[in-house]
């Protein structure tokens, strides 16, 4: 049965309260995503409310975009349509924190910063540090699989998410996984939700594995004369018995953006442990850097925050997956293809790099991304436009090519779980 606009507004209001439904055109205009203006913004404050909203949207065949802090709204292709933005920031309760079990369950709108504040009393942390860090919601970090330098030691969200409650496209509240650190009961549904951009379900609650915060941490910047030298240094660090928690490659452009002078490239390293172990490893690191012709200096206080800010302040971000052994060559290729204005930072240990630009010439960039993909393809690398103007993401598929067999399976899952294309339609891989 069709519902008029007026009664849709009433229906949403009866689910969440009038004050949580926005239909004021000015405010809606401010929530535009890629030029699509939503008809409603709805802010659920409980999982049941979220479930009702999605069910209603499905019943009426409305298109829904869930959002957290809004830092990744340019990720993926422009939406094929948009009716309702579901703002998840009021799902902001920490439901359980069990320090003795090193686990916490939170609603999807809880920010990394809010969780970190709670955990720091017990010297624990979530060991997640995506760009944009503390203000980002944990639901958003999960849906976009946002990843930062700490993945070097701790892995990413896929290694952290133990359990997940989500709302399927028809509104059915569903749970997958467990609240304990080890469970193999049935399919590993949490894995399916990480990086799925909410296209199989809207994330409502997350149970995370936590880590003890190391007692002592120190960070350094090793400057190198050539990109190749940086690559060799990275390989030497990763081959050694050092146990760094971050090993980042920092390109010339990134050093300039950070106002760090004239080196061609640098490697940023942090080591965390008990103090004597950090001191002992610093000695080993120093000799590795010396042997590879670099210069090691302590990083200034607040370095990692500024580092993350550089990623967030770009106009265009391309997330690149490359092999650790190909990191220096990949940085070189990016600099050659995107010109001297590009800044590249990322984990040399995991091969996840971010290419950053403050301006965008659509056609030139689209063809550069195409060439970059061609360079990465032989060893399974990939490049995704995670931020950029709509025109760029129309000129070239922001996700790049996907293996046809795997894509067919992904399409099968989407057809099964969201046949009416209610959730984030058109934004995900393969137009899903």
């Amino acid at each position: 049965m069709a519902v008029s606009v007026r009664s849709l507004e009433k229906a949403f209001a009866s689910l969440v309260g009038r004050e949580r439904v926005v239909d004021d055109p000015v405010k809606l205009g401010g929530a535009t995503i890629d030029g699509c203006v939503p008809r409603f913004i709805v802010r659920p404050a409980a999982v049941d409310e979220l479930s009702g909203i999605v069910a209603l949207a499905c019943e009426e065949r409305l298109a829904v975009i869930p959002r957290g802090s809004g830092s990744a709204l340019e990720l993926g292709a422009p939406p094929s349509r948009l009716d309702v933005v579901i703002d998840l920031r009021d799902l902001d309760r920490v439901l359980e924190y069990n320090p003795d079990d090193l686990t916490a369950s939170v609603e999807a709108g809880v920010t990394l910063g809010a969780l970190a504040k709670l955990l720091s009393d017990r010297r624990q942390f979530a060991a997640l540090d995506p760009p944009g860090g503390t203000s980002r919601s944990l639901g958003g970090i999960t849906a976009t699989n946002a990843v930062g330098p700490l993945a070097c030691r701790y892995g990413a969200m896929r290694d952290r998410l133990l359990g997940v409650r989500f709302v399927q496209a028809d509104g059915v509240v569903t749970w997958g996984g467990a609240k304990v650190v080890k469970s193999v009961t049935g399919y590993d549904i949490p894995k399916l939700m990480v990086g799925a951009l909410g296209t199989l379900g809207v994330l409502a609650e997350l149970t995370l594995r936590l880590h003890p915060m190391p007692e002592h941490e120190a960070s350094w910047l090793a400057s190198c004369d050539t990109l190749d030298a940086a690559g060799t240094l990275v390989a030497a660090i990763l081959e050694s018995t050092l146990q760094p928690n971050r090993v980042e490659i920092v390109s010339r452009g990134a050093l300039e953006a950070l106002r760090l002078g004239a080196a061609v490239a640098a490697v940023a390293v942090s080591i965390a442990s008990v103090e004597p172990a950090v001191a002992a490893q610093e000695e080993s690191l120093r000799s590795l850097v010396r042997a590879n012709g670099g210069t090691l200096n302590p990083a200034s206080p607040g370095w990692w925050d500024r580092y993350g800010d550089v990623v967030m302040s770009s106009r265009v971000t391309i997330r690149i997956g490359t092999l650790p052994s190909e990191v220096a060559r990949t940085v070189g290729a990016v600099e050659r293809l995107l010109g001297p204005a590009v800044a590249v930072v990322g984990s040399a240990a995991t091969g996840t790099l971010h290419a950053l630009l403050s301006e965008c010439q659509v056609q030139a960039m689209a063809s550069a991304v195409g060439e970059l993909r061609a360079m990465l393809a032989p060893f399974g690398g990939h490049a995704t436009i995670t931020r950029g103007p709509r025109a760029l993401r129309e000129a070239i598929d922001p996700w790049g090519p996907t293996d046809p067999g795997a894509l067919a399976l992904m399409r099968g899952l989407k057809d099964e779980f969201d046949p009416h294309r209610v959730l984030n339609p058109g934004r995900f891989v393969g137009g899903l």
Binding site: V3, S7, L8, K10, S14, L15, D48, A55, E59, D100, L102, V147, G155, A156, D159, Q168, V172, T174, G176, A178, K179, V180, V181, K182, S183, V184, T185, G186, D188, I189, K191, L192, G195, L200, H211, P212, M213, A235, L238, E239, T241, Q243, S273, V274, P276, A277, G321, T352, G380, T384, T402, D403, G405, A406, L407, L409, M410, L413, E416, V429
Partner: protein, 481 residues
């Protein structure tokens, strides 16, 4: 079509006679895995050597609608690698090559039949190891580890199998090989690798696996602490974790197991010990030294009767001896046992151990406990005499009750062994109908014809059937025009 002579001829044309097991005696060896309570002979066992053979086997079975049961070394503990409804068992043992070792990228590509420990042996000299270490690692295959998402003592620090699998090649029910993931992290799209790991063969036949290799730690310290009670030992576990230490392994044995070990091989445990706590720390040498000192002090402060620190590799092996002998030692006190591997939140260990004593008394069965204390993963061996049907009945009832108690405390039905046929009916304890239905539909997308390891992983339950509709939210009334 059933498995008849024409079907067997076609299989023979694919793999040759020496790769088929047809005789009843031969197939007997394949009728169960290590969970010997569940038996089901396949109609034929086939041992392919190449991916193209695997593809042709799957296409043939699909054409003739014959179920496929994958099998590795058959060391599973949940009744996963047996054929409840007959069909073709595809044993992957001959596909056991290391295809590539890539040290600069700290990964390897292997075939599924490769024995877990062989990979570590292959890369140890270069300073690496394959971290998942199920107790069966000397015989279990990496394909089997992937299928069950196997754990092990050192998973406390290093994570379970899924945290070490970067990519898979799978021949799905269509017969086409599917490449998922790979050496490069985080390929865009759904993490199908993550879903396939632990899918117990329902995704298809895995033909190659890209695994992560982990650096051999610079230092290792093994500590053995004896306590008067499980409670005291559990408190030491909590204190160690609260101090911010994540040991590589944190294993516990209870008094029943201690007595069984001492009655047999002996590991030098005193008779008055009610619990043995084995603590292993690894990492940078200076870190291990300091954490070991702290772990020793914390154990003493929680009333340890004695604390021993291994001084060398030989002593380390000695301290581990009791732990490794545990399951064998139980054989001396009971002819048979049921083994389960439910999980509770670590902080609930003392509570679940008390509950277990009550259950044991109620059902008049003996529990012996050897478990991964660090992650709350229990391994109670529920002893019974298989000549006494009533005892088996009581053991099963006690098992059931214990599972419920673990779930009531916020735990999980299985921590590392997997579901198989053994625990399929218990999934409803942990999951609501909507959750089960989601998994059922996921399986139907992956394998629409239900050929891949039928009867395993998911229960026969209304929520896992056609026509089931999850209860949807009630939409507001009066809004309609």
């Amino acid at each position: 079509m059933p498995v008849n002579s024409r079907f067997v001829d076609e299989l023979r044309a694919i793999v040759g006679s020496d790769a088929l097991v047809l005789s009843p005696e031969g197939r007997l060896a394949y009728e169960c895995d290590m969970h010997t309570l569940y038996k089901g002979q396949p109609d034929v066992v086939v041992l392919p050597s190449r991916v193209d053979e695997v593809q042709r086997i799957v296409r043939l079975c699909r054409r003739e609608r014959v179920p496929i049961v994958p099998r590795g070394s058959g060391t599973g503990l949940a009744g996963g690698a047996m054929a409840p409804t007959g069909g073709v068992m595809v044993a992957m043992n001959r596909m056991n090559r290391v295809l590539e070792i890539d040290i600069p990228n700290r990964c390897a590509v292997v075939e599924p039949g490769l024995i877990n420990l062989w990979l570590t042996r292959e890369v140890a000299a270069r300073g690496y190891f394959f971290a998942p270490d199920p107790s069966s690692q000397m015989v279990s295959s990496i394909g089997g580890n992937v299928s069950t998402n196997a754990g092990g003592p050192h998973c406390l620090k290093y994570g379970i199998t899924t945290n070490h699998v970067l990519g898979l090649t799978i021949v799905g029910s269509s017969g086409e090989p599917l490449t998922l993931g790979g050496k490069v992290w985080d390929r865009p799209g759904y993490d199908l690798t993550g879903v396939a790991v632990g899918s117990e063969g329902t995704f298809g036949l895995v033909t190659s696996i890209t695994v992560r290799l982990t650096h051999t730690p610079e230092g290792v310290k093994t500590i053995l602490a004896l306590f008067a009670t499980i409670d005291a030992a559990s408190e030491a576990v909590s204190a160690i974790i609260a101090a911010g230490i994540v040991p590589a392994a944190l294993e516990m044995l209870d008094d029943v197991v201690i007595r069984a070990i001492e009655a047999g091989v002996g590991a030098g445990y005193p008779g008055d010990a009610g619990a043995v706590l084995l603590i292993e720390l690894d990492g940078p040498r200076a870190e291990v030294e300091m954490e070991a000192e702290r772990a020793v002090a914390l154990s003493r402060a929680r009333g340890a009767l004695s604390v021993r620190v291994a001084r060398d590799e030989a002593e380390r092996a000695l301290l581990w001896k009791g732990r490794k002998e545990a399951a064998g030692a139980i054989g001396r006190i009971a002819p048979s046992f049921l083994l389960q591997d439910a999980v509770v939140p670590r902080s609930k260990l003392p509570q679940i151990m008390r509950e277990m004593q009550a259950i044991s008394a109620r059902h008049r069965v003996l529990f012996a406990n050897v478990f991964h204390a660090g992650d709350g993963n229990l391994h109670p061996l529920i002893c019974y005499d298989d000549r006494d049907p009533d005892e088996l009945h009581r053991a099963k009832a006690a098992n059931e009750e214990l599972l419920r108690a673990c779930i009531d405390m916020g735990g999980s039905v299985t921590g590392e062994h997997g579901v198989g046929v053994d625990k399929a009916q218990h999934l409803g304890l942990q999951y609501a109908d909507a959750d089960l239905n989601f998994m059922y539909r996921l399986r139907r997308v992956i394998d629409p014809e239900g050929l891949m390891n039928p009867g395993k992983l998911l229960p026969s339950h209304p929520a896992c059937g056609e026509g089931f509709r999850a209860r949807r939210p009630v939409l507001p009334e009066g809004a309609w025009v």
